[in-house]
Subunit: 272 residues, 2 copies
DNA sequence: CGAAATTTTGATCACGTTCAACTTCAGTGG
DNA sequence: CCACTGAAGTTGAACGTGATCAAAATTTCG
């Protein structure tokens, strides 16, 4: 059975939000790392939601080459963005975690550039792109937050390029595990030193540009070197700092969006 | 001496813009592929520009690990985003062309995740981030356009991950050349079947995760197979379709941003 | 429980790296 | 004008890493 309901998601980060609409929504949590949102803001956002659906494990959510114009905010579950090449090889471009958006970047192009497949059962809030755009015209806050989100996405991909392009297999794997840990922690789905790993070795190898056997050996090596412990689907970092060092991992921390007042002060009116 | 002034940039695409402020500005050209901008819009954008500077060849514009909070719109010239790893290997994450933004994603993070180095002399419009944010609050159009831009950026990186992760060396190189051609064409700096290639083989090898000798041989192979012709710094595709096929290249075409009216119609008021 | 997916292990081999030398070219100063 | 310099491009030979293929062991799930 997939993980439709979070099993034991110990909260380490982001437990600060008070009684608020959307307080348990990882996407809202995410937006709140960029900007403040009033209860009313959250209500406006929720009003754009067309439907809330749950998609079963191993279904394609987006198909490469087809137009797609929804934003799906992931409330729970995991997915992967990928492309299959002529010779049948698959490259996973990135993993989609709770709080992420399916349809970024796909819905901003005339046709999606990658497919998206669910890994577990996934609970989604579906928002038609025009509805979101309409919200952005009314409340520029959201358009800005979305730019920040997209920039963060780009930064994650950039790291992924580095990972696949120039790091050794152990470094790649260590980096991936740290990235997942850090991103999960941001939405309160990881604990201090570990997390539940929902992906198979085949998926990780397709993400890292390695063969399955080699990924397996590399994972074994991380265990042998006492960098991590794995049992069930759980990853524990034995010595986080050692792993960080190995992977040269720098967590991606988004800056905050200046408030209207801050922006005005910093940028004295020069407009005509 | 670098290419401070475009030498022979034959315009193939985007010659349609009428007498307008910013008509020859590649960044404005870029924004106009997403949305309509009135002369007044362009003026507002130009008002946020703090200064226009030219940076000499081979200078670092952004340094990894340092906070950076400017947006630099590239008017002319070329640069590369990169990271150097412990062992001295360098990975180029992406190439920056006219119309691109230096500071995306760097300025949206608490500290830049990559460095940026100029390849030729580069002419930049510098805009402090708060000024741009202020503009976005006033004219949400720009915030939306920027989301689109960031999404396109993410899509380009995603392709780069695929390139480096799972494609063979020839396919990688062919894909890179097509990507550069397509992006340059979008801002009118390429011709139908070719373009001026401003990057050295070392840079391309660092972008593609290959060694210099192997990149060289791969390039030689593309020539031998009569896919391309190179002379000086000029690349000509002998048979674009064959190259496209080889690289499985799909150009990234951004969708348009719905206008306020379109957004309202498509998303009937459901607010409160 | 049985079937399928996933993980693990082993043996072989090809591809791309590495290292080194050489060529070509552009820019610079004598 | 030519010699000098350093960067960029080209070529060759040897080596090693990670792919490939195959099969077994283990886990997951219907």
């Amino acid at each position: 059975m997939g993980s439709q309901i979070p099993r034991t998601a110990a909260l380490t980060v982001a437990p600060r939000v008070a009684k608020d609409p959307g307080r348990d929504d990882p996407f809202v949590t995410r937006l709140r790392t960029y900007t403040e949102l009033s209860a009313q803001d959250v209500a406006s956002l929720q009003a754009t939601i067309e439907s809330e659906i749950t998609v079963r494990k191993r279904r394609d959510l987006v198909l490469e080459g087809y137009a797609f114009s929804k934003l799906c905010f992931v409330r729970d579950g995991f997915a992967a963005r990928y492309k299959v090449l002529r010779d049948g090889k698959r490259q996973i471009v990135g993993f989609i975690l709770p709080g992420d958006v399916v349809g970024l970047p796909g819905s901003f192009l005339d046709r999606a550039a990658n497919s998206v497949i669910t890994v577990s059962d996934v609970a989604l809030h579906v928002c038609p792109l025009p509805a979101f755009v309409e919200l952005c015209y009314r409340r520029p806050q959201f358009a800005l937050a979305f730019s920040w989100l997209a920039a963060q996405e780009a930064a994650i991909y950039a790291e992924h390029v580095i990972n696949v392009g120039r790091r050794t297999p152990v470094e790649r794997l260590a980096h991936l595990l740290l990235e997942l840990h850090s991103r999960l922690a941001m939405v309160g789905r990881a604990w201090e030193t570990g997390f539940d790993l929902p992906f198979t070795q085949e998926m990780m190898s397709d993400a890292l540009g390695l063969s399955v056997p080699h990924l397996n050996r590399t994972l074994a090596r991380l265990r042998a070197d006492e960098m991590i412990v794995m049992q069930e689907r759980r990853v524990e970092f034995t010595d986080v700092d050692a792993v960080r060092q190995l992977a040269q991992f720098q967590p991606i921390t988004p800056a905050r969006i200046p408030t209207p007042a801050e922006a005005r002060n910093a940028a004295p009116a020069r407009v005509k």
